[in-house]
């Protein structure tokens, strides 16, 4: 009886430990202090002082690997083992003060490297230099990597001189694109990335890059991160489903001084070959491109399905505000661009024709459903080939609705190019205005151009409920860099934009305009033209 009671108690304790905490009874914490005078046993009292020790250890679910704050370890962290869904392996900091630094210098490919390992959490570590990557998480063969969480890290100063997309990246979460390897359930939050000569700031390639039907990873989230000053793309997610890119700041991407490949021009924040992605509340500014295309604020590239770009502030970029592309004999399906504010974009003098909203297809690609509504633009591109909304001869297929509605365009130009669109895109309830004296507006539809708004309306049959009128904004003048648009882009009392918008979802099954405007306020019952509504 005594033995039975003893066993019962042991079993109860173990069972509870697994159910309540999810952590195995024998998880261990290991400690690294690279300032310690001798290499210890990995305990807090007697820590390791070299990365060779943790790199030779196989960690088990629930283990922790701690680095001493205020210290620097030279080399590459390359631990072995995987955690579990209920007990990830955690890499973190201990002690107090500045984050511990791992510096791969110019010797190691990455500061932190995992291959085919799941359920790792990396937080509160500063990764400095490394040749190609600060953090490099790889999946190869047929491996499905799961559960990668990266929180509150910095990854800066990687030294490689990128020449083409994908050759390097500060935070690189990468499934081998030629097989069925995938990476799912990736969360990157609060990362400070950049000041380096690598291609991508944050790059998540979650599956197979060979086709739209290849393996995809799922549940990719990147938020609260700041990417600045990288050679190529700021934040790029490919081959994934269920993607959220929320509340990030991206600036000075595309800075490569010697890149020339025009097939991989850079963008600050974009998705490719994704299904169900939302890019929201991001700020993207002062980004550029070495080529005649891209370098815009945000891109819904080809191979994408069900992507929404909303509530973003996109300004001072060399290229478009938001683009939607189709290519490689595939169709980009259901793109929604709404409640964004675009200011002072499209100033790349070497660029081909672009617009704040730019649609393009090539190599047999097509678009099926592009909804552009309730955006506000300050349109001041002086390049004659640019129009605020430019459909660059895109091919449309399918029956999903494509339209441009409820948008507010304010321009200081004498000859603003406003529209260059074609069927099946429909336009209505937009407001166009130039503050120049005696402006001459240009509108194009199906290849015909008009410099009179009324002639455009009657000739095209489009924009019948739209207007050319002063929107009476608070102060629409262009402000200096880095200043958020505020009341100066909000229609004031008496504005013809007030109550002049339409519910774009009327007659569209399953359509929703979302709950808020650009300022986060609920949409009023009587909708306004533009991104900012009554509040």
């Amino acid at each position: 009886m005594m033995r039975f009671t003893y066993l019962l108690a042991v079993c109860a304790t173990c069972a509870w430990a697994i159910l309540a905490g999810g952590k195995p009874a024998f998880a261990t914490s290991y400690y690294v202090n690279c300032s310690a005078s001798s290499n210890g046993m990995g305990t807090q009292a007697n820590p390791w002082n070299t990365l060779n020790s943790p790199n030779a250890h196989t960690f088990v679910p629930g283990d922790n690997l701690y680095f001493m704050r205020g210290t620097t370890c030279s080399g590459e962290v390359k631990p072995l083992g995987s955690g579990s869904s209920s007990a990830p392996i955690t890499v973190n900091a201990y002690g107090s003060g500045a984050q511990p630094i791992v510096n791969g210098g110019t010797t190691y490919s990455a500061d932190f490297y995992l291959l085919n390992q799941s359920y790792w959490t990396i937080e509160n570590i500063a990764f400095l230099q490394g040749i190609y990557h600060g953090i490099d998480i790889e999946a190869s063969g047929n491996t499905s990597v799961n559960g990668i969480t990266i929180t509150n890290v910095t990854a800066t100063g990687a030294t490689y001189g990128s020449q083409i997309r994908g050759d390097s990246g500060e935070i690189n979460v990468n499934a081998d694109g030629t097989d069925s390897a995938t990476i799912s359930n990736v969360t990157i939050q609060g990362a400070i990335v950049g000041n380096s000569s690598v291609s991508e700031g944050i790059y998540v390639n979650a599956g197979n890059t060979q086709s739209m039907t290849g393996a995809k990873g799922s549940n990719i989230s990147i938020s609260l991160s700041n990417v600045s000053n990288v050679y190529g793309d700021g934040i790029l997610v490919v081959d994934a489903s269920n993607v959220t890119l929320n509340s990030n700041v991206i600036t000075q991407s595309g800075k490569c001084p010697s890149c020339s490949n025009t097939n991989s021009t850079p963008g600050p924040i974009w998705v490719w070959n994704t299904t169900n992605a939302v890019m929201s509340w991001n700020e993207s500014y002062n980004n550029t491109s070495w080529g005649a295309v891209d370098g815009g604020g945000m891109d819904v590239d080809y191979y994408n399905q069900n992507v929404t770009a909303e509530y973003n502030y996109l300004h001072d970029n060399k290229g478009y505000c938001v683009s939607v592309f189709g290519s490689q004999n595939t169709t980009t399906v259901n793109s929604v661009i709404r409640f964004n504010v675009c200011i002072n974009n499209n100033n790349n003098a070497a660029a081909q024709s672009q617009g704040d909203f730019y649609l393009n297809t090539w190599d047999g690609g097509s678009l099926n459903g592009v909804q552009i509504y309730n955006n506000t633009s300050y349109w001041d591109s002086t390049l004659a080939s640019n129009q605020e909304f430019l459909d660059n001869g895109a091919t449309f297929t399918g029956s999903n609705p494509s339209f441009y509605k409820n948008n507010l365009v304010y321009s200081p130009l004498q000859y603003p190019g406003m529209i260059n669109a074609a069927s099946p895109i429909t336009l209505s309830n937009n407001l166009y205005y130039s503050s120049a004296s005696s402006p001459e507006y240009w509108f194009g539809y199906n290849g015909t151009w008009w410099s009179s708004f009324s002639a455009y309306q009657s000739g095209s049959g489009q924009d019948l409920n739209s207007m050319v009128a002063n929107p009476l904004l608070g102060d629409p003048g262009y402000d200096v860099d880095n200043v958020w648009p505020t009341s100066q882009y909000q229609p004031q009392a008496g504005s013809p934009a007030i109550g002049a918008a339409v519910n774009v979802c009327n007659g569209i099954s399953g359509c929703s305009m979302g709950g808020n405007d650009f300022l986060g306020d609920p949409l009023p019952s009587s909708l306004w033209i533009g991104a900012i509504q009554e509040n």
Binding site: M2, T5, Y6, A9, V10, A12, T13, W16, A17, A20, G21, K23, R69, A93, S96, G97, A98, Q99, E123, N124, T151, N152, T154, Q189, G190, I192, S223, L224, N226, S247, V249, W281, E283, Y313, G474, D475, N482, V483, W484, P485, T486, S487, Q488, F518, L519, G520
Partner: protein
Amino acid sequence: MKSTRLLYFVLVFAMSFALVAPSHPQARSMAPDAGPSILVHQRIRDRIYPTVRGGTFHLMASPHRPLLLAFLQVLPDSAATPSRSEALFLQSMEHQYAARGLRVAAIDGSSMVSHRSPFHDDLLNASYDWHLTFPLLEDHNGSAAHEFHVRTVPTVVLIDDTGIIVQAWEGFTPPALLAQGIERLLGGPLGRVPELTTK
């Protein structure tokens, strides 16, 4: 012997539960209580607070400058709380408006949620882990939150260069709203009368 061993496992069981039981998700946010709201249009007192990285911070600068002051729940520092989001955009405001004289600071309001004062080292680490570029101030006994009538975190108040609270926002506030208030204070276009905004 039998009862001793049994008691041992009962104690292990109880202690383990106390150590690792997950906190309630509601602890991540806090609804405004029924107390009085922020004293918009009132003049603040020139308090001096210790910053977690050392030194002190005067609410009233000399020469006087406007101040964007936030009450944030800084701990736990790896959680995706509304305060964490607010911190990112407070830094954005500092980056954009510091050249025009705006100061930004945050007072730790973690105790409003946890009902205990955080350890200094935890706050110090959080200031680094959030990569804060503005001062994080310690409010040991919650006196600052009490004095400002803070009812929830995050709360952000905008104080003009004479020490008057001209705007306050309760709950997470998007950067465009913060900028709207700042622009108005710094000489931007006139808008609505400053007021308490509860998101």
